[in-house]
């Protein structure tokens, strides 16, 4: 009678008998799951349509958004001008599409700078604590004391019109939310054993913060960023409406609304369609952000 000796004992006297492990990839989970979140998909579709329309603007309209035609002002929608013209004869549809390009581009870029600045300061405040933390939090207090738009408008006013002013103003005001979120997450995460183990293994603070803490805390900041994009785009549109955005003749939804509001009783489409575009973009981004936070939530 023969006995089957476990094959592992010959070479691995220290190892237990275990079946082979199917090593799954955590990232696979996200890739296969993304379509399960209806919000995420809906947001993706809406944004996809909007971004697609703006990107392919030259293919979708023969007119330039800056080309005036003073012989055809305030035309209602027609075969030649799908959405009519404004008081300078500029085609509405092309203004809408090219204006979308401007606003979306600035909106996405204007989120990244506060994200980076806020996350960095939040990391440093959370990890080092004491002096650094007090300093950063006092800065936060100062910024938070002002209402968002008051500060942004004041800064844009001081710096002057144009894209540069918008980026600087929004960064100075917008970094605080990221800093608070990241700082809070790091305060919790740094109590974890694996941070102590990393220190015990001789890793220095920069490596621990970037390689070990940051990946574990960044999801909250990313989720917030998706919501922040909506606010950024709204802020840019608002600035445009107030005349503090990108200067003419660069097309911009905000200025379109401002220009069109005086014609609400006659050519109502001039103010309404840019407004609807802003709403659609906001809804799309909100759904995307919701879906993303659903997907990134640990199971």
């Amino acid at each position: 009678m023969s006995t089957l000796a476990p094959e592992s004992t010959a070479h691995h006297s220290l190892s237990p008998d275990l079946p082979p492990l199917a090593v799954a990839n955590v990232k696979d989970g996200f890739r296969t799951r993304w379509y399960r979140s209806r919000s995420f998909v809906a947001g993706l579709v809406i944004l996809g349509v909007i971004i697609g329309l703006c990107t392919f603007a030259p293919l979708l309209t023969p007119y330039s958004p800056t080309q005036q035609d003073l012989t055809h002002v305030l035309q209602p929608p027609s075969a030649e001008h799908i959405l009519g013209t404004d008081q300078l004869g500029i085609d509405m549809w092309s203004q809408l599409l090219y204006g979308g390009r401007t606003d979306l581009r600035i909106g996405f870029l204007a989120v990244i700078l506060p994200f980076i600045l806020g996350t960095t300061l939040g990391c440093l405040a959370g990890y080092y604590g004491r002096g650094v933390d007090v300093g950063v939090m006092r800065l936060v207090d100062i910024v938070v004391a002002f209402p968002f738009y008051v500060l942004v408008i004041a800064l844009v006013f001081v710096i002057g019109p144009g894209e540069r002013g918008i980026y600087i103003a929004i960064t100075i005001v917008g970094w605080v939310s990221y800093a608070r979120i990241v700082r809070g997450e790091i305060l919790v995460a740094k109590q974890q054993d694996y941070v102590l183990a990393a220190r015990a293994a001789g890793f220095g603070a920069p490596r621990i913060i970037v390689r070990h803490l940051l990946p574990n805390v960044i999801t909250q900041a990313i989720v917030f960023a998706t919501a922040d994009v909506v606010l950024c785009i709204l802020a840019i549109v608002t600035l445009g409406y107030l005349g503090l955005g990108v200067p003419p003749p660069i097309p911009d939804w905000g200025r379109m609304i401002f220009n069109g509001q005086q014609f609400l009783t006659t050519q109502w489409q001039l103010a309404t369609f840019p407004g609807l575009a802003v709403v659609a973009t906001g809804v799309g981004l909100a759904l995307l952000g919701d879906g993303l936070s659903d997907l990134l939530r640990p199971e």
């Binding site: 691995h12 799954a24 054993d193 990393a198 001789g202 390689r211 574990n216």
Partner: protein, 334 residues
Amino acid sequence: MPELLRVEDDVVEITTRRGVLRAVDGVSFGIAAGEALGLVGESGCGKTTTLRTILGLIPRNATVSGRILFEGEDLLAKNGDAMRRCRGKAISMVFQEPMTALNPLMRAGQQISEAIQINLGHGGRRAHREAVDMMQRVGIPEAERRYRAYPHELSGGMRQRIMIAMALSCHPRLVLCDEPTTALDVTVQEQILNILATMQREQDLSILYVTHDLAVVSATCRRVAVMYAAQIVEIGTVDEVFHRPRHPYTLGLLRSIPRFERAQETLRAIPGAPPHLLAPPPGCRFHPRCPYVEDDCRQGDFPLVPVGDDHGTACIHSERCTEATVAEPVMPHG
């Protein structure tokens, strides 16, 4: 055997809102090269804090004094950078809970090779090879596949092996183990202890085991130190201390272990509870609970005094323990 580590009069004071307490109060011991020393005691007796002072990982509101000589150099005199170079390389640590001690977002094997890259300066590929090699040596089958696994995909025993591989990967001379098997079930415990014993022999390591499990100590260590209320009350070889204890606390601990060889109606516990370290009792800290207490126990200091070859105790009436063990021997562990 030359001494690798000598801790002298280690004191850790922690400032709390309610006052200053001494989590470690004058602890002294030595470990020779290639030797395993067990540090046992109840939760809160200061054994984990002692461990952390060796690597300088104590919280900010704590101050350390004393000397910790490692290969002749005082670790407490080293600045932050010098201490960091020591960690993971000359001295490393194995933690109790491998699930929380491993980064959940990093692959298991990567955490080992990262340590190799940082501490030994080896390149990525070489570090990867060495990490896989170390994983095999601690008995992880299919090491290459498990290198890519995340910690939550591995069992508790596997994770602890990863921890041990990480601690041993840079060829330290001293490994500090903070209750490495407490979170594991008994069969896995034995495997892990075997691994540590094998590695110790192969690499001529010194090990400091902190644990509250006397059985683990008797199976793996040559010497043991018993801590109570932030002080060492008895120290000596495992054979001496566990068969001929010379401190009533040690005796109480040994007597409280349930025996399966004979039926017991009640478990024998030490009456009372350990003192709060903000206000420890005067004199011998164990005296309120001691069955052999006398008047001269209630005040004064009680440093360790030798009572035999490599056997020290803080009890000035240790002969009462000798009488007790003669009358009722402490049965050998098995």
